[in-house]
């Protein structure tokens, strides 16, 4: 095999380096801003920290309590219509949690939709309990899917051996199965933690003072320094979770036969009854509430331009993200320095939208030509969702047989031509998938859009928020349903695309 002398500095490096540096910029801005006049820590700050951590811990616990049994159910129990069960139980991922929070808040409590409709007095849904319920309902699928993927990689013969040696089924699941999927559960739990930390809409609607909510309050009072200080504190926690996540590595066993459990008719019924509340609360209730509002108040107030603005900004973000992702992904494959640059761009994914918004509002005030422009909003989207594009592009680029490029070079193509005519066409699929993921995430994004949108630029998400703030709940129906639809498309893409290994919905991936 001939080793072609590699250039010392691969062509993709300069662009990747610039992208990585821009990705770090928000933190630089925040540090500069926070050092101006912010108070480091006070009593209220402590309460915010405790609320944030409590919400995170309870949500992770709740997600594990719901997600692990559901993973066992969908992996091992031979229910009728298994695919449907799986899709239904993963479906909460398709609903932005702020939509869940909004509808549950409106449904519960005195004078809520449930009481209006059924005359049934139900307790209100707010505070720590409400936020935990909502976050759990919309993030347990992370745990369910990662755990399920681990479960499907196990060999059933160990369980069978345990049963032969006299353990009951539940005992063998507890002592033989679950310990071997601990990393899968942990990986899901950490995703849930990350998701909970950066969520803005749910604590805001449930009126729980977490970091994201208080940052928004400070921003509204234009205490940008204080908002930056709180943002940095939040980033430290996010950083810890990201660090833990990077330490969790799956253990691979020799795959074997899957365990299959055959329930009888009564057991099937009991399972269905036990699972129903989750689906009813997470899926049926929000869609019903929107349905009721739609029937009651029609489509008043909604303008087509809101949907168009969402599509417009998200499309630009997707385009820019993919263009930037190409050099970053190639740098990541080219060498160690490139991998570091790629890691740095991943950082943006951990920056909550509200934090990104704070940093870029300040940046805009310093650079007035950017302030309240679509460009700044698109930049925020790109910085946040670039990793989705990089991941997709890199996954297909890695699958590319390097000898094809070498053959092209051997036949006289310049590096640029080889890239254009060989690499690019072969990685197009990954680019499209990456662009679609960025597009759909940008559509659902709320806090950064609220803070950075140009004047008069109302999107589906920001319109939904205004309607919530003004108390005209009925008008949320159309934008809400459109957002759910968009997110459902995104979920379908995620399940079939880059994160397939993690969120496996097929049966025989590992065998």
């Amino acid at each position: 095999m001939i080793n072609w002398p590699l250039p010392r500095w691969p062509g993709s490096y300069p662009l990747a380096l610039i992208t990585a540096l821009v990705g770090l910029m928000p933190v630089g801005v925040l540090i500069g801003l926070a050092s101006e006049e912010a108070q480091l820590f006070d009593a209220h700050n402590l309460k915010v920290l405790i609320n944030t951590l409590l919400l995170m811990v309870f949500t992770v616990l709740g997600s594990v309590l719901i997600g692990v049994p559901l993973a066992l159910l969908t992996a091992y129990v031979q229910m009728p219509w298994r695919k449907l069960w799986l899709v239904l139980l993963a479906a909460p991922l398709a609903i932005p949690s702020y939509i869940g929070a909004f509808t549950l808040y409106a449904a519960f409590g005195r004078g809520g939709e449930i009481e209006n409709l059924l005359g049934l007095p139900v307790p209100p849904m707010d505070g720590l309990v409400g936020a935990t319920v909502v976050m759990t309902l919309y993030s347990y699928p992370f745990v369910m899917l990662t755990t399920r993927a681990s479960l499907l990689s196990l060999d059933a013969s160990l369980v069978n051996a345990a049963r032969t040696l006299g353990m009951t089924l539940s005992e063998s699941i507890w002592r033989v199965v679950l310990p071997r999927v601990a990393t899968g559960i942990a990986a899901g739990g950490l995703l849930v933690a990350l998701y909970t930390l950066s969520d803005f809409g749910t604590p805001a609607i449930m009126r729980l003072d977490t970091f994201t909510r208080v940052i928004f309050v400070e921003y509204n009072a234009f205490g940008l320094s204080q908002a930056a200080m709180l943002s940095l504190q939040l980033m430290v926690i996010v950083g810890l979770v990201l660090f833990l996540e990077s330490r969790v590595r799956g253990n691979h066993e020799r795959p074997g036969r899957h365990l299959a459990l055959w329930p009888n008719r009564w057991q099937k019924l009991i399972i269905a009854v036990a699972v129903a509340p989750v689906t009813i609360l997470a899926i049926v209730l929000p869609l019903s509430v929107f349905g009721i509002w739609l029937l009651r108040e029609g489509t008043g107030g909604f303008q087509f331009s809101h949907a168009w603005n969402s599509v417009h900004a998200s499309f630009l973000a997707a385009l820019v993200a993919v263009v930037l992702a190409i050099p970053v992904a190639h740098a990541a494959i080219a060498g160690r320095a490139g991998r570091l640059m790629e890691r740095v761009t991943y950082f943006g994914f951990g920056v909550p939208g509200i934090v990104m918004g704070t940093a870029l509002v300040y940046l805009g005030l310093q650079l007035p030509f950017l302030y309240q422009t679509l460009g700044l909003l698109v930049l925020a989207y790109v910085l946040r969702f670039l990793p989705l594009a990089v991941g997709s592009v890199r996954a297909t680029a890695e699958g590319l047989d390097p000898s094809l490029v070498k053959a092209a070079r051997l036949l006289g193509a310049s590096p640029g031509e080889a890239f254009r005519r060989v690499t690019l066409p072969l990685t197009l699929r990954g680019m499209v998938a990456g662009a679609a993921l960025v597009f759909l995430e940008a559509m659902r994004e709320l806090p950064a859009t609220l803070m950075l949108g140009p004047t008069g630029f109302e999107t589906l998400a920001t319109y939904l928020w205004r309607v919530y703030e003004a108390g005209y709940f009925g008008r949320a129906a159309i934008p809400g349903l459109l957002l759910v639809l968009m997110s459902a498309l995104g979920l379908a893409l995620m399940l079939s695309g880059e994160r397939r290994a993690e969120f496996d919905v097929t049966e025989n991936h590992h065998s």
Binding site: A221, F222, R466, E469, G471
Partner: protein, 347 residues
């Protein structure tokens, strides 16, 4: 801002319309010569950016839409937000040397005062301020409409005598209460209480009330909740009750007023120009036309502040009302209020 003059004038304005309340429908009200009609205004052309402190739902939108339709060459961009947040944005933008808004229309005069105090408001011409009733003429901003804090109560469950005439005394009553703590006008009311009674007393009051309170998203919701009998009484701006009763004349709700405390705070929405030139001024003139003011009075039940426009039907005699003496500019100081409300667990 000269608060006493403002308050007295608003009272006078109310009384002016209310003393002949029974007859005013039959007789033509006196039209002052200086109140303009939109027909007398030049058409507007060019770009204008309005920062709109979250309007009263569809009604302000209707006014803006009508202005847009009348002026097809006007490119009106609207940034919507919480009034206090937009006021803060304007000040922060000015500090950074950036100006985006040409006009600021706020639902709360405190926010207006904050921007004016920062020296950002452009002076208004005398013939514009002259259209406003005496005492409402400020060199830098124009009040658009007035509103009063009230206690809407369920007439089936309460008689007026059962309602204490002190908002502080409500904390010791057994009445069930509806409120909308997230709503800007409610927060201005709490700010006023803070200024009048002090932080500690206000915090205790909030805690005591919250034990018997049901939260609504907005104050229209509060009034509807009162009418349905979900609660005995509520806290709301006067116009929500009038609007509800206009659609449902036999509604089980009526207005009560406290005496000389934050419970009957008087506030005004206002508008100011941030950029030079005629366009912002003309825009403000549109808001003060007979048409817009009549619309806001008859449809939104707000108190019109230009000469010669009838106050809303059904506003109770304001000589019964004794609003507190509060410096309205201080109402912009929202942050201590928000902290207080959070610590009391109501927000």
């Amino acid at each position: 801002m000269q608060r006493r003059v403002f308050l007295q004038s608003l009272l006078a304005a109310g009384a002016f319309g209310l003393i002949p309340a029974g007859r005013s429908l039959a007789t033509t009200p006196p039209v002052a010569a200086d109140t303009l009609s939109v027909d007398q205004l030049p058409p507007m052309e060019g770009d204008l950016t309005l920062y709109l402190g979250r309007g009263e739902g569809g009604l302000y939108e209707n006014v803006l839409e009508a202005i847009r339709q009348r002026n097809p060459k006007l490119n009106l961009q609207i940034r919507r937000g919480v009034t206090a947040a937009l006021a803060n944005t304007i000040v922060a933008e000015a500090k950074a040397g950036v100006r985006r808004a040409d006009v600021f229309w706020a639902v709360d005069s405190g926010a207006i005062g904050m921007v004016a105090d920062a020296g950002l408001a452009r002076p208004l011409p005398a013939d514009l301020t002259g259209q406003l009733k005496a005492g409402f003429q400020y060199p830098q901003w124009a009040p658009v409409t007035g509103r009063i804090r009230t206690l809407p109560y369920n007439t089936g469950r309460l008689t007026p005598e059962q309602i204490p005439d002190s908002v502080m005394a409500l904390a010791d009553s057994e009445l069930s209460i509806g409120w909308a703590p997230a709503y800007a006008s409610f927060q201005s009311f709490v700010t006023a209480m803070r200024l009048l009674e002090g932080d500690r007393v206000t915090a205790e009051w909030l805690r005591a009330i919250s034990k018997r309170a049901k939260s609504y998203a907005g104050e229209l919701g509060v009034v509807m909740g009162v009418e349905r009998g979900e609660v005995d009484l509520g806290f709301a701006n006067h116009y929500y009750t009038l609007r509800l009763k206009s659609g449902k004349p036999d509604a089980n709700v009526d207005l009560a007023f406290t005496k000389n405390d934050a419970g009957c705070l008087v506030n005004a929405s206002g508008v100011l120009a941030l950029s030079e030139g005629d366009l912002p001024i003309t825009f403000i003139r549109y808001l003060l036309t007979r048409e817009v003011q009549s619309y806001l009075a008859s449809e939104a039940y707000e108190i019109p502040l230009v000469n010669g426009v009838k106050p809303p039907v059904g506003l109770p005699p304001l000589n019964r009302v004794s609003p507190p003496r509060v410096d309205l500019t201080q109402l912009a100081d929202l942050r201590p209020t928000l902290n207080l409300m959070r610590n009391a667990g109501v927000l």
